[in-house]
């Protein structure tokens, strides 16, 4: 069974932190989850193709490369907390 440290590391890979309590809860839920996964082993999927979308009907097409649908610079910046002269502001990368 995976440990608290395992899940804390996994969380960090997803760019967030979890508390000890949250890690404990995940361990519990993980146990239920693994139990449920046992049913996967009971089902023979030999030769079965993955179903990625609910339908196999083709609905995706390529279109002409004509600019159609875009954000203005102003729109793109409208939700950022720090903006300077039309740029997103972040801490210095090179110290």
């Amino acid at each position: 069974m995976e440990s608290k440290e395992y899940f804390k590391k996994l969380a960090l890979n997803l760019m967030f932190e979890i508390s000890d309590e949250e890690a404990e809860n995940i361990i519990k839920e993980f146990a239920t989850f693994n139990e449920q996964l046992n049913i996967f082993d009971e089902i023979d999927t030999e030769g079965v193709e993955e179903m990625v979308y609910p339908f196999d009907v083709e609905t995706t097409y390529l279109r002409e490369d004509v600019p159609d649908h875009y954000l203005t610079k102003q729109e793109a910046l409208s939700n950022v907390s720090k903006e300077v002269e039309g740029h997103f502001v972040l801490p210095r990368v090179l110290k």
Binding site: F33, M51, F88, L90, P91
Partner: protein
């Protein structure tokens, strides 16, 4: 409240009334995240099929210039620069939005207990949950604030709250309505859905918001009929299958009595009622299959919620730390749990065994249901096995359960 009940009222007045009523019930029901003053919309209202009908929209629909939080802290300051297609179509039909309704965080819950504004309460019994994740929309419809409320359904997030609040919840076929501008949960499972108090209203709404949208390439090319004109009450000879596996595990007598009453009514009207059983192992696999696919897709979809370009930013010493701080503070514990499990299923070592296996089982489930349904008109089952749970007993509502 149905459209027929308010259609003869003055258009402007009924929208202002709805806007006021949404605020009046907020203390008791807590169903709204943002109230929208209808004044400006009324001035520009188009003369469409929903002309000056007040509607509520779940807060995961992008609404230009209006706060859109998806019930989640990390988006508690997010103001979209565009309208979702459904919002655009509602405007074209003349509908007037008066509220962005409460929802479980990022639509990833079934109780509406995880919204940033706290729980949404069931108007039939304030001690009970509304169900989620489209709880706010269900409640505003059930409480007769609006006749129509838009929600979304990935794993029953319209159907369950509809069942818990005595409203009509519609989850149309995937691809029938555009998801463009809807903050996603799982892209291959998300559906636009909605609530009404009348089947006639449900048909009218569908014909207004359905249709092909090139901004959402999963939408169907099939034409949109005038559903409201197709309604009739003749079901003689229609073949209705009762979902035996579901009915057999329900032990709540009230639910069974109510369901049997419906079945008897359908029989009296000339429908042919039969029972159908699906493969039990496949049915038991539905929950883990859904859980794996939904949370895997979701963890990928929401990797862009990082506080860098939008959303609630918590500062840090470098970009990585900004993302970590913002996501740690911005996501509730349920979200984090689901992202972790979803991401676990995508690890190289696990992908074949868990994620791809789930996708294969998905096909098998689909095939089994399709094979048994293809000669029938309808599959019937209760949407929930019991009435809306009490809030205090339901603190673990969103924990993964082994109960069938």
């Amino acid at each position: 409240m149905r459209i027929a009940d308010i259609i003869n009222q003055d258009g402007d007045k009924r929208c202002f009334d709805a806007y006021q009523k949404a605020q009046d019930v907020q203390g008791k029901l807590n169903a709204t995240i943002t109230f929208i003053d209808p004044k400006d919309q009324l001035e520009e209202a188009k003369e469409g099929k929903l002309y000056k009908i007040p509607v509520a929209v779940k807060d995961n629909y992008n609404t230009k210039g209006i706060l859109t939080t998806a019930g989640c802290k990390i988006l508690d300051n997010y103001i979209p620069v565009y309208d979702a297609t459904v919002v655009k179509k509602l405007k074209e039909a003349g509908a007037i939005m008066i509220a962005k309704s409460s929802m479980d965080e990022l639509a990833m819950g079934g109780s509406n207990l995880t919204s940033i504004i706290g729980p949404c309460y069931n108007p039939y019994d304030l001690n009970r949950i509304s169900g989620g994740s489209s709880g706010g929309s269900a409640v505003l419809t059930a409480a007769n604030v609006v006749p129509i409320a838009i929600g979304s359904d990935t794993g029953d997030s319209v159907r369950k709250p509809a069942s818990f609040t005595n409203t009509i919840g519609v989850k149309p076929t995937y691809g029938r309505i555009s998801r463009y501008g809807v903050i996603p949960y799982a892209s291959s499972l998300d559906h636009v859905g909605y609530f009404t108090n009348d089947v006639k209203d449900a048909a009218l709404v569908l014909e207004c918001i359905a249709g092909r949208d090139d901004n959402d390439l999963t939408t169907s090319d099939l034409p949109v009929p005038e559903y409201s004109k197709l309604l009739n009450d003749d079901i003689k000879g229609k073949k209705i299958l009762i979902f035996k596996n579901v009915v057999d595990v329900i032990d709540n007598q009230d639910v069974l009595d109510g369901f049997n009453k419906v079945v008897e009514g359908l029989k009296e009207r000339g429908a042919i009622i039969e029972e159908v059983s699906f493969d039990d192992t496949l049915l038991k696999a539905i929950l883990p299959t859904y859980y794996v696919i939904a949370n895997a897709e979701s963890s990928a979809n929401h990797s862009n919620l990082d506080g860098v370009r939008f959303g609630h930013r918590i500062e840090g010493e470098d970009t990585d730390q900004i993302m970590i701080n913002s996501r740690t503070a911005g996501f509730g514990p349920l979200l984090k749990k689901r992202f972790i499990i979803g991401s676990y299923a995508l690890f190289e070592d696990n992908q074949e065994r868990i994620f791809r296996k789930a996708q294969k089982i998905r096909r098998l489930i689909n095939d089994d249901i399709y094979a048994k349904l293809k000669d029938a008109d309808c599959l019937l089952a209760p949407a929930s096995g019991k009435p809306a749970p009490l809030i205090d007993n339901d603190k673990d509502a969103d924990e993964l359960s082994n109960e069938y």
